[in-house]
Subunit: 149 residues, 2 copies
């Protein structure tokens, strides 16, 4: 299942600040005000730890960001110093839904994690998204517990 003609899956670039990245993230949750300076600071931090933080996007025929996804690769002691991939901050622009961009984002990030040697890839979702992640090859792994400040 590929992307529509002209669409590209690629790493986040620093120029994506003014290319609909923040607007796309807002489909997922609260983003608030992120100035270009703060974006560039966080981008540089992520970029300084390229195995750990692997932010990706999908762009449309116009080269505009229409989907986001982060792969975080954690180095653990368990499983003989095993790696775990965490998939985070998946957002698809509202106008681009129904094009299977979410499926491509998840399966591509999963492949990157597996190629890096992760013994598992995990993510948290709400009940109504379980079916979608099952189509991406995931199964129910337990319960997320949260404490908000």
């Amino acid at each position: 299942m590929g992307l529509p003609q002209g669409y590209t899956f690629r790493k986040l670039q620093v120029s994506d600040y003014s290319n609909n990245y923040i607007e796309t993230l807002k489909v997922l949750t609260t983003v608030g005000e992120v100035s270009q300076a703060r974006f560039e600071e966080l981008f540089a931090h992520w970029d300084s730890l390229p195995q750990l933080y692997q932010p990706h996007v999908i762009t449309n025929e116009q080269g505009v960001v229409v989907a986001t996804g982060m792969l975080l690769v954690e180095k653990k002691m368990i499983h003989e110093c095993g790696l775990v991939g965490h998939i985070e901050d998946i957002a698809i622009a509202t106008s681009e839904q129904g094009k299977k961009l979410g499926y491509t984002m998840i399966t591509n990030l999963t492949q990157i994690a597996e190629a890096a040697g992760c013994y598992k890839v995990i993510l948290d979702c709400s009940t109504h998204n379980i079916g979608f992640y099952e189509k991406c090859g995931y199964t129910n792994g337990g319960t997320q517990m949260v404490k908000r400040a």
Copy 2:
């Protein structure tokens, strides 16, 4: 709710390799063979990223590691470049259960995360541990989905 007399909550130290750290982790899951050299390599990696990886232990009156817990602090773009604490790899030595070490580990890691400015702290658990995490101040935040390699 404090620790028993003589017990200490502290950061993981490199000398904990030969102080029951690996054995304690084995209560949680598969650890496999981790040589001292590999332990020291991973310890040095974690130590080079001290805001990100914050491994902790509880030691007993003999100074022996009897509980483990990792706080991972992720830097996100959402929530105005917000921080999220991930609590991972909680293990309590079998002989030390019933002393509320798990409670102290979780509440201490949560406090560290909140003091660092995390807007939320999350962890994944199996159904039979939900009640324990509720006592620690957590609520059900959704479903963990997993894909194992």
